[in-house]
């Protein structure tokens, strides 16, 4: 499902990485400034509308948050959190969606060739043609993003509007954002913008402001400015997300070893046969008297 303007940099379950071309494209990134996010959910519905998702069934449960978790039909969710802080309250909103990791755990975990691809511009996409809906990507993802769609039997998540991006447009969520807390551009530009905003926040009394671009997954295609970087849990963000060790282990160690072991067993059996030959009873007939040990043919 390579979008036609985009070469693939990495593809799931491919032995040599699966790169499709040599074009070098600038890596793109979303920028989220939670300190200017008002949780209006324009990004949520812009995503829904553009991607023709839904309807989803929600119910009022006593929160402004649309639903508890991302959903296969809902790829972009604002998480709301009220906390007491400095004698008052803070009401934090963070846009949750695929982080488009530089080193994507989903892609690492995916067993279906080409079902998860990373384009040259850094977008990580699920290819529904190739996806087998096994859910390994959900296990591989440190942000708990990919969701299984029961109707299609495929995994679903934010595509960073790859169809728009490859046509020269920005993702739907970014375009909709009324306050400008969402921005889109090259990763370098977004990181620079993030650092500038963090500096501004620090000067304005947010001593713990940070730019969240976790190195454990090689950085993300979504950089997030947080006013309270000392309380990542308020935003529902992991402190040091990584591709799970288990995924790394079974993908990089166990499976090659297993292949070697299986072929080794076969080779071992053949070798044994060549060396040892079959174990056969002596050709002399007649009733054995019993008790005496059988004779073993020797080479």
């Amino acid at each position: 499902m390579a979008a036609h303007n985009l070469e693939i940099r990495r593809s799931s379950a491919s032995l040599w990485g699966g790169a499709t071309g040599m074009r070098q494209l600038p890596v793109v990134s979303k920028f989220i400034d939670t300190t200017t996010c008002i949780g209006c959910k324009a990004c949520e519905v812009a995503c829904q509308e553009w991607n023709d998702l839904g309807p989803v069934s929600t119910r009022q449960t006593g929160t402004y948050q649309t639903m508890p978790e991302l959903d296969p039909e809902f790829w972009n969710l604002i998480r709301f959190n009220e906390q007491e802080f400095d004698g008052g309250v803070v009401w934090l909103m963070r846009k949750d969606q695929c982080m488009h990791c530089e080193d994507p755990g989903c892609l690492a975990a995916c067993p279906a060739p080409g079902a998860i691809v990373q384009y040259e511009n850094g977008i990580v996409d699920v290819n529904p043609e190739a996806c087998i809906g096994c859910g390994f990507c959900a296990t591989g993802c440190p942000f708990d993003v990919p969701k299984f769609h029961a109707k299609t039997g495929k995994m679903a998540k934010c595509t960073l509007c790859v169809d728009r991006v490859e046509s020269g447009l920005e993702p739907a969520c970014i375009k909709a954002c009324p306050t400008g807390c969402l921005q889109f551009g090259t990763k370098d530009d977004m990181v620079a913008m993030g650092h500038a905003r963090v500096e501004q926040l620090k000067a304005n009394g947010f001593a713990n402001a940070v730019l969240y671009d976790p190195p454990g997954v090689g950085g993300t295609g979504v950089v997030t400015v947080l006013g309270h970087g000392d309380h990542l849990e308020w935003y529902g963000l992991p402190r040091d997300p990584r591709v799970p060790l288990g995924v790394r282990f079974w993908k990089s160690v166990l499976r090659p070893l297993g292949v070697v072991a299986i072929f080794g067993a076969v080779v071992g059996a053949i070798g044994h046969f060549m060396y040892q030959g079959p174990k056969e009873p002596p050709q002399t007939g007649g009733e054995p008297t019993g008790g005496e040990p059988p004779r073993t043919p020797r080479p």
């Binding site: 008002i38 959910k41 519905v45 309807p55 929600t58 119910r59 006593g62 008052g88 309250v89 009324p178």
Partner: protein, 819 residues
Amino acid sequence: MTNGWVDIKNADVILAMGGNPAENHPVGFKWFMEAKRGRNAKLCVVDPRFTRTAAVADVYAPIRAGTDIAFLLGLIRHTIENKRYHEDYVKIHTNAPYVIGEKFDFNDGLFAGFDEGKGEYDKTLWGYEAGAKGGAYKVDPTLEDPRCVFQLLRKHVARYTPEVVEQVCGTPKDKFLKVADVVTSTGNAERVGTITYALGWTQHSTGVQMIRAAAMLQLLLGNVGRPGGGVNAFRGHSNIQGATDTAGTFEILPGYLKTPTGPLTNLKEYYESAIPTTLNKQTWPSMNYWVNYPKFMVSLLKAQYGNAATKDNDFGYQWLPKVDGNYSWMYIFDDMYRGKVMRAGAEEPGPEALITFGMNPVGLGPNSKKMVAALSKQKWMVVVENVETETAIFWKAPKEYEGPEPSQIPTEVFLLPAADFAEKDGTFTNSARWLQWKWKALDPPGRAKADQEILARIFLAVRDLYQKEGGALPEQLTNVSWSYTNPAEPDLAEVLKEMSGKALADVHDPADKAKVVKAAGQQLDGFGQLMDDGTTLCGNWLHSGVYTEAGNNAQRRSNADPTGLGMFHNWAFSWPANRRIMYNRASADANGKPWDPKRPGIYWNGQKWVGDVPDMKPDAPPGTYGAFIMLPEGVGRLFSSGLNDGPFPEHYEAVEAPIANPLHPNVTSNPAFKKFTSDKDVYGTKEEFPIVCTTYRLTEHFHYWTKHQVGGRLNELQPGFFIEIPEALAKEKGIENGSQVRVISKRGQIQGMAMVTKRLYPLKVDGKELWQIGFPIHWGFASEPGHTGPLANLLTPSAGDPNTWTPEYKAFLVKLEKA
């Protein structure tokens, strides 16, 4: 808005109060964030709830709903006592130096001239002191005369110390002082601040005075008329501004001309009543632009009555309906409910029928039970809508609305399907007064029709009946000019041309009578070309210039912004005269130099005013006229005799007051407020209903509209009604988040899901702990199935502001219990 949406990015300080712009105007709010990011502006939010706006604010101060005047007067006191006002500005652009007559005073909550019996003030006691020379008025440029506006104001607000603000508003003193410090930092030439508000101020029995207090503060800080400044009302509906400009309300004609009243029997009397006398003829004389009133009025009458309007018949003035008394919202339904009303000393029938285009009175009117009861008495009703609203099906309202059985309701209801916005063209006027054209994208579904076609067909059918059968004053209808190419489906571009105005005969240059400025039949360039002799036609003088010989200016689409201040003069058309910042003359000092050269509104270049379209005669040198050209004084009013409830704002409690007024317990609520007295209009006491309740909108829904969308995504974002309850109150009452609770006011009760939150907390008011709760409007009994809910207005009172007669939706008393 005095300024524009984009202009907010020019502010150094933004005070968002009486509104929740992040929630209700998110895209406009973009420019708040732009100011924060771009110039490190400080956003102060004062609100009963910790809102979405508060979530991104630099300073948040909680306040008890309905006490904003005390807070604002506290800010004014802080400004004056700490000398933080912009003195040069105050001296030349406000009436601070004007001396007030001896009759004015203020005692124990009442201004001079209150008539207990009528509940009204005699406003003539609030006049200026006449000066030595006739026609001029006494001013003290030093601001030291104890009777000058400045000193009177200083005395008036002296009571509003931070301690009193805390006592009345419940705002902790340190929070108040923080806000005061930031907001008053703009009282100089270098810095500018804006104040934004919305229905959180309007919908109070003291709403107009809240806005006035904000305007006064801005005048003192020298922020009116400047880029990045102003007092900015964020309007709620796409064309609520245009509907108001175009006389949607009973008291005005298009362009804010006054609706004639019974005693004004001819145009002359009407002009005498409507046109203010120029007050300031001494220094800084006022242009008093309303002297052009007859040009606007006659051009309007020519638009309405065409050739039937002649100089001899007062241009058809006698056919205009005249009013006696009040015909606004709450009166409509009160008169409908009672069936009769006293007018000019005699009984007249109330409305027996209602025609509503795209409006849902059962949903949005206060006191829903009274709304349903009133509508149940009508003979007929026409509802023109996209969807089946509560109003369309009031006759099958659920039993808690206490309406009669359908069989007992005699109303014939016509429900006519209308086109959506995308299915017709025409202009909307935004909150910043921009008229923007939209193009038609597709046809209406099924047999639905555009509203203008429905309206036109009804009008033509009625006119036919009168032409055939005669009846009561047929001329009122038959003389109406309806000269559209297709009368049954008027082309909106033709209508816009009519509104913008054209020459009926050659229009000559006033300076050179031989020179023809506009030939007969041509579109006019602006209201400067309007004539009072019937040679021009103009449906709305404010809109004049929107459709000129150059074409439809509402369609202009250049977003070039050479000043960088976000004015966009070649994008669409902004009334008046494509001006982007009102009162922009005040952005410059006495010599016409901008207060802040980096943010000039207009400035005098030696020959003329340049920059924005000047709110001033373009070639009148500085000192010729005062900046506030529509006011007879020519300067901004810190003291005004124009309002019905006092020349200065004063803190009054809501109609349903949770405490006695700490400042004057004998006058707790606004003495002039409007309160209805039918059997459906009942009011609760603080003893029975101890909790203050407020209502609001959510960003995920639009009014009573989007809940109808079957399969609509907004119903996913906010699927149902809820009631926000402070954590501590919930704990006290044993209420769990997500459980069902009942909220009860004197007028009704509603049940809903509790949303227990930290974002509301108790306030210490007048020494006692006071709770506030609130819930969103939006839901009702006509919705997408599964998304119905109670109408918030089951609980709200029919009582409101004495100037605008807007109901007090934002502060009323309730009690809360577990369901």
